[in-house]
Symmetry: C2
Subunit: 232 residues, 2 copies
Amino acid sequence: MTFPDLFERFSMTILPLGTSDATHLRFQAVARYASARAGDAPFTGNGSDQIAFVASGSTKLVAHASGGREQVVAFHFAGDLVSVPARAAHAYTLCALEDCELIYFPAEEFYKLARFEAGMVDEVLERVMKALARCREKTITLGRKNAQERLANFLLTMDERIGADNDGGRLLDLPMSRRDVADSLGLTIETVSRQFGELRDAGLLETMGRSKVMLLDLQGLAARAGHLFEPA
Amino acid sequence: MTFPDLFERFSMTILPLGTSDATHLRFQAVARYASARAGDAPFTGNGSDQIAFVASGSTKLVAHASGGREQVVAFHFAGDLVSVPARAAHAYTLCALEDCELIYFPAEEFYKLARFEAGMVDEVLERVMKALARCREKTITLGRKNAQERLANFLLTMDERIGADNDGGRLLDLPMSRRDVADSLGLTIETVSRQFGELRDAGLLETMGRSKVMLLDLQGLAARAGHLFEPA
DNA sequence: CGTCACCTTGACGAGTCTCAAGTTGTGTGG
DNA sequence: CCACACAACTTGAGACTCGTCAAGGTGACG
């Protein structure tokens, strides 16, 4: 896709209706374009924070710790806005899961422009709050849940985002590998694989090939996700 | 402290300079007041999201999972703004560590008012971004670090927020119990206690009483925090 | 000064990681 | 279209960290 097409997609999704042409042009002036093949890391938050818009494809935000350890902080799909932090105690990398196209901005300039447009900051704030909510949920998962609860949780979350009805169940076509899932859940690929096996044996899901998962029993999965039903 | 005093503190900290009297009054009209003794849970995000301003004291935001498991999502000190989510897959409770006084608002109304005041949304956005950054760092800690790294990390983070120079080291007066630390780090109190012991034996810190910790070697702690030094 | 909750320390076991081998799926080139 | 090659995934056995259970110590408060 051409840059104008991609930028158009950004405008449609993020800029409020009725945004002036002048504002469009200002955003366009500071926008950068990046296309990435699956596995590529188009850019890190080198030096300063970046804001990336995922125009197509899907990405993961990876944090790097010592000893080559990696933690997937979040996954993103087409239409998502991601804030990629500059390097701090840990380094962050935005990484393509599938081939994808990105529009990105230095965060500071992005916010400066956003401030001028009524409704724009609201949109951004709402998305950041959503990201915070997801991150908090992940915190519970990583801090207090066992392997099976983590995977059940993950599958239900993915269902909300990319699940599709199919033959009485919900079909997921996961763009990420078992390693990505493991790095997201704070587990090893072996443990993830074993838990897929257990959930399959329990009749809660079927796996077809490497990326397709059919969720057969959402309630059963929710029951194994360690969610709170009765507040204490 | 009286409500006007507390609200004044909120205004000074959060409302931008030059905010109109009308806006002040509008915020004051929807503001609720809560004082809480140490250990109290003044309110949960019952029904709808809440925004709380910690006027004095300190708090923890706790997420509840099944089986009575608790995860401390974040700690807050005087001057902090906290978003307390409504109940979803997990229930959240804001809980006082020390006696404290809070000003709080239904989130929706808060944002609606904030929108009217230039600079206000910026302030809120900046704080939410900071919260997101902290939550992401926590994600790495919980997903990929061992007990010692988690505690070292925690102590360094607390030092940034409430540490004070003292006799060549840094003195922390922690308002939270070992249980709170454990619930924040995804560990048990016993493991936290053991790791305090190891760091003490290694000469990196001293503990005085239950709440005071003297950090003797910040570099040594950072070395044990699993931070990334050389990007891969 | 006594009481109680909080914290520390120890022994043991469960859950997950590590290491290793085998299997399956996907994409490529004949 | 099939066969090959490689990476991704699965499965198994043993090790290790951290959780559990239990007992004892300590500091803060009345």
